[in-house]
């Protein structure tokens, strides 16, 4: 792979061409916050947390969907980016009904960790308190729309890794919801194979296995990355 010279946070680096800014930063130990990124899955730039400043470009670009180019001067830790990350994090909490104290993912939740990372102490936006359903129709798993942040990691893992394409997104704006098949209850889905990959891909407590209580949830998203990499090795 040809090497190109870039500058990230005033550090000069020789990096592989053809990779995304996020990949390069992770390889070089530069921290970038993400929610919708799961290594191995296609990046969609949905969460807007990985925004970076690039010299010569007026707007912030998402690191996960922007390919690195020669002589790029990238900044990842500016005040502007931090401000936007704070806004994004607070909007996540204001958009749905996130109640950590009763959540299965309490203590192991990516959204909770994000709150700590951005040092969120209050939410400046009015809570929407939307009416959200909890789908318990599946024999083993539960889908709780209250805790969903629409990262679409479950949608992508189901389509790209399992190949079942049970999940998708319906409606638009603040009415968006994750659906299985024709918005049928999960348990009645004809495409779901009950493989459980979406359970591990979900960064919050929105999809979880039944018969666990508050704070007991164990998720292994790295298992999905490993699976994808091992499949590539076989080829």
């Amino acid at each position: 792979m040809p090497k190109i010279a870039v500058t990230i946070d005033d550090k000069k680096l020789d990096v592989d061409a053809g990779k995304t800014i996020l990949e390069i930063c992770r390889e070089n130990g530069i921290e970038i916050l993400t929610m919708c990124h799961l290594k191995g899955l296609t990046d969609v730039g949905a969460c807007r947390l990985c925004l970076v400043e690039i010299e010569g470009i007026n707007k912030l670009l998402s690191a996960c969907t922007t390919k690195i180019a020669a002589n790029m001067v990238i900044k990842t830790q500016t005040e502007k980016i931090k401000r936007y990350q704070n806004i994004t994090c607070e909007l996540f909490y204001a958009e749905r009904n996130h109640v950590c104290s009763v959540c299965v993912a309490n203590g192991k939740c990516d959204l909770q960790k994000l709150g700590y990372k951005t040092e969120m102490d209050h939410i400046r936006y009015p809570y929407l308190f939307p009416q959200c359903n909890v789908d318990t129709s599946h024999a083993w798993y539960v889908l709780d729309h209250n805790r969903c942040i629409m990262c679409t990691r479950c949608v992508r893992v189901c389509a790209e890794v399992e190949g079942a394409h049970n999940w998708n997104v319906m409606n638009r704006g603040n009415k968006v919801r994750i659906i299985s098949d024709f918005d049928t209850p999960w348990g009645e889905s004809e495409t779901c194979t009950s493989c459980g990959k979406c359970v591990h891909a979900c960064p919050t407590g929105a999809i979880w296995p039944k018969a666990i209580v508050q704070g007991q949830l164990e998720k292994k998203p790295e298992m999905i990355t490993e699976l994808i990499e091992k499949r590539k090795m076989n080829l």
Partner: protein, 168 residues
């Protein structure tokens, strides 16, 4: 792979509208990319997208059901509920509003007890509003089925709707 199941064959024989969709799917070569074009055909044939038709299209195109459903719910053009045999769309853009679009809507509500977005119980009439249909010179504009009525009055609209309902 491309043969229809016996159940859909029977439905095909009965429903000429489904035949139209089947022809469109064939014309598009069963390409999944043609989903939106095929949904357009279905929407025009039925006036909305019944679940049975969505299932038929899904099967024919070999698409995941969730993909079809997300496409249908994303675009406002597609509707999962019947809009009524006859549709009356009242423009409530600024020009039409000033010229008395609300009076027309009030009269429709008085006569047919229907608010914008509602469909009558017998499915004969559906009322909807649009922000602006781009015909401000014709204000207040009303679109009855596919006919644009310029400088409409409440009385005239009610009469025309009644005529349409009697006709069918």
């Amino acid at each position: 792979m491309k043969t229809a199941t016996p159940a859909t064959d029977a439905a095909l024989a009965k429903d000429p509208r489904l035949k139209l969709i089947a022809a469109k799917i064939k014309k598009e070569n069963y390409k999944p990319d043609a989903l939106i074009e095929i949904l357009h055909t279905a929407q025009n044939a039925y006036g909305y997208l019944p679940m049975s038709v969505l299932k038929y299209i899904t099967k024919q195109l070999h698409l995941p059901p969730s993909r079809v459903y997300s496409t249908v719910t994303f675009y406002h053009f597609f509707s999962l509920k019947s809009k009524g045999d006859h549709t009356c769309l009242v423009c409530t853009g600024t020009a039409c509003y000033v010229k008395g679009a609300q009076a027309i809507l009030n009269e429709i509500e008085n006569q047919f007890s229907l608010e914008p977005g509602q469909v009558s119980a017998d499915n004969k009439l559906g009322i909807s509003v649009a922000r602006c249909i781009g015909a401000c010179g014709l204000a207040p504009a009303v679109v009855l089925d596919d006919e644009v009525l310029a400088k409409a009055t409440a009385e005239e609209i009610v009469n025309k709707i009644n005529a349409k309902i009697v006709e069918s």
